[in-house]
């Protein structure tokens, strides 16, 4: 499952979005079209304010686009769907729930209650994230990076078929980040989930992706869908290869053009 099949899981066609700030209209996203294939990892890069979060929020069904249409697994898509996992840019944990309770929230919501099996799975997931000892702590007792891992654990536990991630590793230190990158690759390989992820790190984008999408400065326009034809499974040694360097340089220059 490490190479994308040719079934489009998610189709975006001509989606555009504008906001008004007071009376001034702000065009956040110019009409954008693309397809995501099953089991594929796509990273979305682009300058701050280019509309990355806006695009993900539209795809998640949280805000309606001004124009265009979307299809998820063959059906028209315009509302939140529990098969789509969403990692928001800001860590959104409930301060009154312990870490474990936070991770179990989606299950509670969708199934009404939590079975012992699910609880064990959640505990295992937290252990994977290096949070074994913090199950009964509250979010404010953990560092920013730890909380981000809790959010990841919560989302992955839902076993979504499509994963939308908005800078999920932003607050992590270099080492943890690399560890989680590898963990994500492993999980994705095992479960075949499709991933669209926003990141500011070109290295991360190239390491993880099958394709890298580059957005232009505001108003966002999809200026490139660079394929990353590197073999899988991947690991950190890949970073120092010339092939990797070449693709990274290419992406960097594409972003540079947007400026």
């Amino acid at each position: 499952m490490t190479t994308p099949s040719q079934t489009p899981v998610f189709v975006v066609e001509g989606v555009a979005k504008g906001f008004t700030d007071g009376y001034r209209p702000i065009q956040a996203l110019r009409p954008i079209s693309f397809e995501l294939y099953a089991g594929e990892i796509v990273c979305l890069v682009g300058p701050s304010g280019s509309g990355k979060s806006t695009l993900l929020r539209i795809m998640g069904g949280l805000i309606p686009p001004d124009a265009g249409a979307m299809w998820f697994e063959g059906r028209p898509h315009n509302a939140p769907n529990t098969a789509i996992g969403f990692v928001f840019q800001k860590t959104n944990l409930m301060p009154w729930r312990t870490i474990l309770q936070n991770v179990l929230l989606p299950i509670e919501i969708q199934q009404g209650k939590v079975s012992p099996v699910q609880r064990e799975r959640a505990e295992a997931m937290l252990a994977t994230m290096g949070l074994k000892d913090f199950e009964h702590a509250y979010p404010r007792q953990l560092s920013g990076g730890m909380n981000q891992r809790v959010v990841l654990a919560r989302t992955l536990l839902q076993q979504p078929r499509l994963l939308l991630m908005d800078e999920p590793f932003g607050q992590l230190d270099a080492l943890t980040r690399e560890r989680l990158n590898l963990e994500l690759l492993r999980l994705q390989a095992a479960e075949g989930v499709t991933i669209l992820m926003v990141t500011h790190s070109i290295t991360e984008a190239v390491l993880l992706s099958d394709r890298v999408f580059v957005l232009s400065e505001r108003p966002g326009r999809l200026i490139a869908q660079t394929p990353v034809p590197l073999p899988r499974p991947r690991d950190l040694t890949l970073i120092s290869t010339p092939d990797f360097g070449a693709i990274a340089t290419q992406v960097r220059s594409l972003i540079g053009e947007t400026g």
Binding site: P80, L105, R140, Q141
Partner: protein
């Protein structure tokens, strides 16, 4: 976000760090302070009576009030009066608070509705109840109902305002999360809105709890056959100031107890705020 909490930690941690014995001492001092202040208030009161030479019918001495209390407690009727007032308070609180929650939730979610309704809610609060007593007595009778109504009315507003503010302050990011999880209306309420609004709602609850006592007394002053407010009135009519003081002090004790219950509940439910 994260560092805010850390800084919080720092403050608490530094305090604790100072060593358990010092922390213990501080705790001890605290527990001592409240009764100490109480004792000094009573001492001041006694001194005032002695110095100013107030006769008992104006300001009775603490000793006299205590005697009166024992006397009234002895024949059991005092318990009845306390019970009546408590019943009025509890029923009034129940009605006032549940209405305030329901309406506050509605208005907190619908801004337009709130703007339309708020003048009327403000108006309902500023009507001097004593002035419309005849209407209340005609509509509700002179029994329990009218006292409960007054108590409900007076406890309603603070909790309403707090509920509106609380519901408004729910983190929109968490709203998005719940939407992305397709939470039902009901789940949204129980799992997000209620716990998120609770810290602010409790501020209003404390006010309401205190005011409920005033509500019951005002209701009883409109005309009553029993209750502590009735005792206040009776004491006044009989020129028996110590009786008034016994009733007033018991009312204060009830208010304290209610406040304590709410504060304890708050500490329980919001213990996550202090970890």
């Amino acid at each position: 976000m994260f560092d805010a909490q850390k800084a919080n930690f720092t403050l608490r941690a530094e305090r604790k760090q100072a060593g358990t014995w010092r922390a213990g001492l501080a705790q001890y001092r605290m527990q001592l302070a409240t009764p100490l202040v109480l004792v000094s208030v009573i001492a001041l009161w006694a001194l005032l009576v002695t110095w100013q030479g107030y006769p008992p019918f104006i300001l009775p001495s603490p000793a006299l009030v205590w005697q009166k209390f024992l006397l009234m407690a002895a024949d059991g009727s005092l318990l009845l009066h306390i019970g009546v007032t408590l019943l009025e308070i509890l029923l009034g609180l129940f009605i006032g608070l549940s209405t305030a929650f329901a309406l506050g939730y509605l208005l907190g979610r619908h801004h337009t509705l709130e703007r339309i309704a708020s003048p009327y809610i403000v108006a309902s609060q500023s009507i001097p109840i004593v002035a419309i007593a005849p209407l209340i007595v005609i509509w509700m009778g002179s029994g329990l109902a009218s006292k409960v109504a007054v108590t409900a009315l007076i406890t309603f507003f603070p909790t309403l305002v707090a509920t509106i503010v609380g519901i408004r302050s729910v983190d929109p990011d968490l709203h998005d999360l719940m939407r992305s999880l397709r939470a039902s209306r009901w789940q949204l309420f129980w799992k997000l809105e209620l716990p998120a609004a609770l810290p602010i709602i409790f501020g209003g609850l404390k006010l309401s709890a205190t005011l409920s006592v005033v509500g019951a007394v005002v209701g009883e002053l409109m005309g009553a056959n029993a209750g502590l407010g009735y005792l206040v009135n009776l004491g006044r009519g009989l020129l028996d100031t110590p009786m008034m003081f016994v009733a007033i002090l018991l009312l204060v004790v009830i208010a304290q107890a209610l406040h304590f219950v709410v504060a304890t509940l708050e500490a329980r439910l919001l213990h996550w705020q202090r970890v």
